[in-house]
């Protein structure tokens, strides 16, 4: 019986959190009116029917893999819980939940009382009362089998019956059902509701401003909307790691520094989850982003926050593309302000070493300074079908770094020399460690120049030895026009060069350059005209699934060793994982900068 009640409570709680709508009737107070002004976290879900009707959900439920997993032993407990809940409720779970969260639900956390409250806006007052009665009845039924006896305490507040079950207070008023772990919070909510005046959270200016900014309902359907008082969360010590400055992590600062600075300094954040056909989109906005104008974050946002990501290069079979405005030279120069002593010491050593490697040129000023701020990293699947070349046992995708040079004529010869020196260095260290050697050739194709290094197969190597991971690489430096491409293979370098040239040609025809322009389709819908894309990350599901599939045997081996599975068990688990990976069509994450900072993530599933 304990499991019975727990399952029902869990199912209800989960669904209630994930369902409901943003507002109630104009005549009656909304959840935000009732919640105290000291609310620091607010999560509002649309009406339950929105979730039931969600095309993405239907798509997932109809997916053969999902159905297979649902019928499998792993989902047995969940299936049992749902069945028990349906017996208790006397109807199917979706239908019951549509009644429970007919007008939506709100989950909130209050900073003053530290209470957590769940407010479900039910179908009507009668349904609300019945639901409360059923929950209390279930608790009492469970208590009959407990040695401790009756755990349900009935109280009354302002003529309103309330029940306390295992430190959770439950009550209802009109068509609202309330559950909280703090009775003072429950009283405040009831008081505010009775006052019928907007004096609670909705009167807080920051909250009201975020609500006003809610996008107009277009073709997208908002499922969740959340608001957080970041200043209060910080003072309460919540998610302290998130607010900590990663002052000893150069890579974290380079990739996320500006965004994390904004999170540290912003007073509030709001976020919404919307759906449209086979898309699911999460958007988070921080309106008061003081970090945008701070000089030490110019490397991330650009001067006056005008930095714009380059147009993402899209390749056939591309796994992902990351295009971002980052002025690495500026980051290098401002390292003293951004990092702690340890990182600065390491950077000083690296600067000296790299200056030597780069023929005495100052690495920060002259090498990084010669590169335009926009950078791109691209990855694509490799074709290993060429039988004449050794096929590595672990198959890695190819990847490349694309940069634009400020002074291409001066930099190109230097880059070629440095690249060749690097290959020589790799050959010497490789020879010392019995590793394969690189052969170098310089090619000119069209107006592109390639310095191509290829690993030489060892003919004496026994055929049954594993082919080293190095054979995934043919390090290449490609230079075309003002671009320099440092790639892991010659093939991806060529593809990128063709892509850049084609982009330049089409941009010329359209009267604009290939870099610096906002890529079409990448601007978040509804964002302000003035916003600029700072960072774009695009992942493609099918090539990623393909890249994983090409390493199926490796993954099976790892599974066998990590889980002690037999080969058949491991193969079954890995194949399920690969099929799951194939469900995702694409994911696009963008960071746009305008008056504030907005982070968007758009997930698209395959039919």
């Amino acid at each position: 019986m304990r499991i019975y009640v727990s399952c029902i409570a869990l199912t209800l709680a989960c669904w209630l959190v994930l369902t409901s709508r943003s507002s109630c009737d104009a005549q009656t107070p909304s959840a935000a009116d009732c919640l105290p002004a000291t609310t620091m976290l607010y999560l509002e879900a649309a009406e339950a029917q929105s979730f039931v009707d969600l095309p993405l959900g239907r798509q997932l439920l109809a997916n053969p893999l999902f159905q297979e997993l649902w019928r499998g032993p792993e989902a047995m407990k969940l299936r049992g819980g749902i069945t028990l809940a349906e017996i208790a409720l006397g109807e199917r779970v979706p239908a019951a939940l549509v009644k429970v969260a007919n007008h939506g639900a709100v989950l909130a956390v209050d900073s003053k009382t530290r209470g957590v409250v769940l407010l479900a806006h039910t179908q009507d007052k009668a349904t609300c009362g019945q639901l409360l009665g059923k929950l209390v009845q279930l608790a009492r039924t469970r208590d009959k089998n407990q040695p401790e006896g009756n755990s349900v305490k009935e109280t009354n507040y302002r003529g309103q019956a309330a029940y306390e079950v295992n430190q959770v207070v439950m009550t209802s008023f009109d068509d609202w059902l309330l559950a909280t772990n703090n009775s003072e919070l429950a009283k405040t909510i009831v008081d505010n509701y009775r006052a019928s005046a907007a004096q609670g959270l909705s009167a807080v200016p920051a909250f009201a401003a975020s609500r006003d900014q809610l996008r107009a309902d277009g073709p997208s359907k908002r499922l969740l909307w959340a608001w957080a008082d970041l200043a209060e969360l910080k003072s309460q010590g919540v998610a302290s790691d998130l607010f900590k400055r990663p002052d000893e992590n150069f890579v974290a600062e380079l990739v996320l520094g500006g965004l994390l600075a904004t999170v540290r300094e912003a007073a509030t954040v709001s976020a919404e989850l919307t759906s449209q056909a086979d898309h699911l989109r999460l958007s988070a906005t921080m309106r008061d982003a003081a970090s945008l104008k701070q000089p030490e974050y110019e490397f991330f946002f650009g001067k006056e926050a005008q930095g714009t990501a380059p147009v993402p290069v899209e390749l056939d079979g591309g796994l992902f593309t990351l295009a971002a405005y980052r002025d690495v030279a500026d980051l290098w120069r401002r390292a003293g302000d951004l990092f702690g002593q340890q990182t600065n010491d390491q950077l000083a050593v690296a600067d000296a070493t790299l200056t030597t490697l780069f023929s005495g040129k100052d690495f920060g000023e002259e090498i990084l300074g010669a590169i335009e701020p926009g950078v791109q990293i691209v990855a694509a699947a490799q074709d290993f079908s060429d039988q004449s070349a050794p096929t590595p046992s672990i198959k890695l995708p190819a990847f490349a770094l694309i940069t634009k040079l400020r002074e291409p004529d001066q930099m190109q010869p230097q880059l070629r020399r440095i690249f060749m020196s690097l290959v020589g260095f790799l050959n010497i260290t490789g020879a010392m460690n019995q590793q394969p050697q690189l052969d170098v050739e310089t090619l000119r194709e069209g107006n592109g120049t390639y310095v191509l290094a290829t690993y030489v197969p060892d003919k004496d190597r026994p055929a049954d030895w594993a082919v080293p991971i190095q054979f995934n690489f043919s390090p290449t430096l490609a230079i075309v026009d003002e671009y320099a491409v440092l790639a892991s293979t010659g093939t991806i370098a060529r593809k990128i060069v063709h892509n850049l040239q084609a982009g330049a040609a089409s941009a010329d025809a359209a009267g604009a350059g290939p870099a610096g322009a906002v890529p079409s389709g990448a601007v978040p819908s509804g964002s302000a005209q003035a916003s600029r894309l700072n960072t774009v990350l695009r992942l493609q599901g099918a090539p990623i699934a393909e890249a994983l599939t090409s390493n199926r045997e490796q993954m099976i081996s790892q599974n066998m060793l990590e889980k002690g599975h037999t080969q058949e068990e491991a193969a079954r688990e890995i194949d399920t994982l690969l099929r799951l990976a194939g469900l995702a069509h694409s994911l696009e994450v963008t960071l746009s900068v305008g008056p504030g900072v907005q982070l968007d993530a758009d997930l698209r599933l395959n039919p």
């Binding site: 672990i394 019995q434 594993a466 060793l561 002690g564």
Partner: protein
């Protein structure tokens, strides 16, 4: 059966009696208890079903099965080879160690794996110096190939094994500066034992191995760097090549006694050291069998001494034996990477022996910290979310084993895991570890307690 004097346990033993074949009798039948003893020593323990099957058979048939050397590759062998190929792609010897644990657990020829482990400890080679996983794997294959076969061929093979030569700094061995490392270890640690050769023998043997090199991870004989002059070795002249030198070392009468002594310690008892006369029949058999191991192993494993009370509980389980005994008995599949890490903490990481002498074994396995480590390891295994018991959960496994009470659990542990009867104190502790109502809810705690008991450390 002779009387037991623990101080001079083997001194008074009659070698003829000791190595004569054990025969079942009415008083001492071939039963599950003796089958479990054999599987603890000749394998890494066994499942309840395997013990049941063995006990219904005979000792001779069980030994045939353990000593079987089939030229045909089993399904498991093929899968294991494929797994090794995948692991080698990472070139990480630590991962290779995990692969070997997988092989030890799943192989249908556990004695082959156990003897491979024996030779790995004997011809100890450490990956922290060799670094190359492929070389370590190739050496492991060499050990496995000859694990139940010819000692002579194994010694010849190991002398040209790139991993061994790299480990003992013999990758470059020139006639102008003969490297004595391998020559010294060949006589002291691998074939003859300390005190059975002279310093001059080491120098002469080193000359024989000049020109034996490793180039691009493969053995190469460089005739230009070989000292082709005549050498005197162990009292014999006209030795020229490394191959001839190895044959001469193996022909020394100390060699079969030395190997027999190592086998005795591995299979019969950690201590005390047996007298030479007790080992003599085994040494004679090794020579008579032209260094083939099958006969001497069958003799040791099927001997009166092996099944006498003298040999019972006379060995301390190595960390690998201790943990794999658990896994086999309880039909556990678990995260082998974590297991390998824990074995490293307990002092037995395969491919990483502490030095060229290998693991000391015996009492050296047990210290206050390793005892705590063993307790933690069994706790980690039973609570790891990836752990499954015969494909299911722990409670279902013990239900399937017809274990429904504390008494039945203790009896099951005694039948399947322990070499000796549990002491009253251990029995009491196990009873108290389960809840007052006598239920099985705290089964995991009970197993952890059993794992830390003194009896569980003995084999």
């Amino acid at each position: 059966m002779p009387s037991m004097d623990r101080n001079n346990l083997f001194e008074s033993l009659d070698p003829d009696w000791a190595w004569s074949a054990w025969q079942p009798s009415e008083d001492e039948p071939w039963n599950r208890q003796r089958a479990a003893h054999l599987y603890r020593r000749a394998a890494f323990g066994a499942t309840s079903a395997q013990l049941e099957q063995a006990s219904k058979s005979t000792l001779s048939v069980t030994l045939d099965s353990l000593l079987a050397t089939s030229a045909n590759e089993s399904t498991f062998d093929a899968a294991s080879k494929q797994l090794a190929t995948s692991v080698l792609a990472t070139n990480d010897p630590r991962s290779l160690g995990v692969w070997w644990l997988h092989a030890m657990l799943g192989s249908s020829r556990p004695l082959l794996e156990k003897m491979t482990l024996f030779w790995h400890g004997h011809f100890a080679t450490g990956a922290e110096k060799v670094k190359d996983a492929q070389l370590m794997y190739d050496q492991n294959r060499l050990l496995r190939t000859h694990a139940l076969g010819s000692v002579a061929q194994l010694v010849h093979g190991i002398a040209k094994d790139p991993a061994m030569l790299v480990y003992l700094d013999s990758a470059v061995n020139r006639k102008a500066h003969p490297n004595e490392n391998f020559a010294r270890e060949l006589m002291e640690l691998f074939c003859l034992g300390e005190g059975n050769y002279s310093e001059k023998d080491v120098q002469e043997l080193a000359r024989c191995f000049t020109g034996w090199e490793v180039r691009r991870n493969q053995f190469r004989f460089n005739s230009f760097q070989h000292d082709s002059g005549s050498k005197q070795l162990l009292g014999a002249g006209d030795i020229e090549s490394g191959e001839q030198a190895i044959d001469r070392v193996l022909a020394d009468p100390h060699a079969p006694r030395f190997i027999a002594g190592k086998l005795f310690r591995f299979f019969i008892a950690d201590e005390p050291a047996p007298p030479a006369r007790l080992l003599e029949p085994l040494a004679e058999q090794l020579i008579a069998d032209n260094w083939m191991l099958t006969g001497v192993l069958r003799r040791i494993l099927g001997s009166q001494l092996m099944f006498s009370p003298i040999a019972r509980g006379r060995k301390i389980r190595s960390p690998i034996e201790w943990s794999l005994n658990w896994l086999n008995a309880c039909e556990i599949s678990t995260n082998l990477k974590k297991l390998a890490e824990s074995l490293n903490d307990l002092g037995q990481a395969v491919f990483y022996p502490p030095n060229v002498k290998g693991w000391d074994g015996g009492r050296a396995w047990i210290t206050s910290s390793t005892l705590v480590g063993r307790t933690n390891l069994i706790g980690q295994i039973v609570r790891d979310e990836s752990t499954r018991w015969a494909g299911g959960d722990m409670a279902a496994f013990f239900r399937g084993q017809k274990v429904d009470s504390v008494e039945e659990l203790v009896a099951w542990l005694e039948r399947n895991l322990f070499a000796l009867e549990l002491s009253h104190a251990t029995r009491e502790r196990l009873h108290h570890s389960l809840d007052a109502a006598g239920g099985m809810e705290r089964l995991a705690d009970c197993l952890v307690l059993a794992g830390s008991s003194p009896e569980m450390q003995l084999s």
